[in-house]
Each structure stands twice: as C-alpha cells, then as structure tokens.
C-alpha cells in the first residue's frame, strides 16, 4: 500500500515536470527585457549633436507630446534600413523623435544624416554608450516610445518595420 502511495506521488511529480518542459519548449529562449511596468525616463545630461551644449533631460522631454527615442549609429547597417520609416514618422505633428547617436564618430554621423535625412527634432551624443544603458538598451538600433506622462511604454529592439510603425501609430492615437 505504501508502495502504491509512493508510486503515485512520483508519477504525478513527473507528469508535472513533463507539462512544464512542454510549455517551456514553446517559450522563446532569447531574452528580451520586457516592460511590464511603465518606467520613468531617466534623468541625465547629454550633449546636443549640433550645438555641442549640455542639456538636461527634463528640457528635452518638456512638451506635451509623444516622444520616440531612436538609438542609431552611422556604422549600424540595419539603421539605414529603418531610416526611411523614421522619416515618415517625423512628419506626424504629435510625435517628436529624439535621436541618440551611439558610440559614433561625429563626422560619420553628420554624413549619415546628410545622406539619409534628419527625422530628429534633436540629436544627443552618446559617445561611450552609457546613455543607452540609462534607457535600458543594449545595442543598435533600438526604439523606445515615451508617452505624455513621461513614461517609457514600449521598446523595440532591432530595426523598426512596417508592422512596428503601424503599432506606433495606433499607440499615438
């Protein structure tokens, strides 16, 4: 009798393990930091790309609009792909796109902008990548959406595409 008890406990335990592993197979194993809780934008000081003057983060995000922070670099190939979509988004009056130039050579960055266009109301210099860390990013390109309450509500890792642009547009409405 005791044996049957033990056996059933073991069987149940292993069935549980099976179910967990089965479900685990369907979960993606690549880690994407997801934003469950809306985070505040970090407080920082950054150098403006054009004026070379340090600005406070509060001044950058002062208007009552949606902000998009796009992390890019001239050496980043997927950034070229997503750039036209950023140009398209920049036409929208209710969005302001802030560019974060990540670990880049300033001359090359200027050439990039001249060649592909400037969707950014403002570009910040992040020469050592520490500003990107403040935003919880880890590479280029990454795009973050900030709502009118100054909270980061969505993050896209990798270049944006038509689908993500639609998603952004629906959030902004």
């Amino acid at each position: 009798m005791k044996n049957k008890y033990k056996a059933s406990i073991f069987f149940l335990f292993f069935i549980f393990c099976f179910v967990v592993f089965y479900k685990g197979l369907n979960n993606p194993n690549i880690y994407t930091p997801n934003i469950k809780v809306k985070k505040n934008i970090p407080l920082f000081k950054a150098k403006d790309f054009n004026s070379k003057v340090y600005i406070n983060s509060e001044k950058i995000f002062d208007e009552n609009k949606y902000y998009i922070v796009n992390i890019w670099a001239s050496w980043c190939v997927p950034c070229i792909k997503e750039h036209p979509l950023l140009m398209e988004l920049s036409i929208n009056q209710s969005i302001k796109i802030i560019g974060l130039n990540y670990r880049d050579n300033l001359n090359n960055a200027k050439k990039f902008i001249n060649e592909y266009g400037n969707p950014y109301t403002q570009i910040l210099i992040d020469s050592d990548g520490t500003l990107a860390v403040e935003f919880g990013a880890y590479g280029v390109p990454e795009t973050l959406i900030i709502d009118k309450n100054k909270k980061i509500i969505k993050k896209f890792v990798g270049p944006i595409n038509e689908e993500t642009v639609q998603e952004i547009k629906s959030i902004i409405k």
Binding site: Y31, P33, N34, K39, R103, D128, G129, T130, A132, V133, E134, F135, G136, Y138, G139
Partner: protein, 122 residues
C-alpha cells in the same frame, strides 16, 4: 619524512610569482563585473567581454563606485534597467526562495533518511 614533505611544499609556494592586486577597489569592481551578464555575448560576463555593451557597463559601474554606491545598489540599478536576467547571482526574493532553500531542505531530508538507517548501538 613528514617534515621533509612540509618543507618541500612550503618552498613551492614561496617560489610562486605573485602578482598581488593591491588595490582593494579593483577587486571590488571586478567582483561586480563578474556578476553582470554581457547581454549581447554568449555566456560571458561583463568582466570577460570587450564588447560595446560591456564597455559601457564597465564605465557606469566605475562611475557608480566613485559615487560610493554599494554593490547591492549597483545591481539594483541594473536590474531596474534590464531585469533580473542581467545579474548572475539570483537574489533571495519571493521568486527564488525555492531555488535557494530546496537543495538545503533536500540535504536535511537526506540526513534524516540516513540516520534512520544507521544503527547506533551494538
């Protein structure tokens, strides 16, 4: 015979070249960097990696150490930005009680089973 053995071994150690890390600060910083996962690498810590991401993290950790942040505060900062995944040492919280305690419980259980099977008298 035994004394000979002891001398031999002690000699070996005295002869070892030692590059002592005199700076306690360096050890402290390295300890932290070894506990942070490089998110764009395959299974490397920030300490071991020379990637862009790792370099940025190293600068931030440097800055925070200069600002007298404690080890736990630095980890908290990174967890807030990137989630628990970035720190190798799983902290003890409601998600990880089982993780830390289950092996110890099993150890005690094993001990109990073993004691039951042992005879202590003649």
């Amino acid at each position: 015979m035994k004394i000979l053995k002891i001398f031999l071994i002690t000699f070996l150690f005295l002869g070892t070249t030692q590059l002592k890390s005199d700076e306690k600060n360096n050890d402290f910083k390295n300890k932290i960097l070894k506990n942070i996962r490089c998110l764009i690498c395959q299974g490397q810590s920030v300490y071991d990696s020379e990637s862009d991401f790792a370099s940025s993290i190293k600068l931030i950790v440097d800055k925070k150490i200069n600002e007298e942040s404690s080890e736990e505060q630095i980890y908290e900062f990174l967890r807030e930005k990137y989630g628990n995944w970035i720190i190798y040492d799983p902290e003890l919280n409601k998600n990880t009680y089982i993780l830390w305690l289950l092996p110890l419980l099993l150890f005690l259980l094993g001990g109990a089973i073993m004691i039951r099977k042992l005879k202590f008298k003649n």
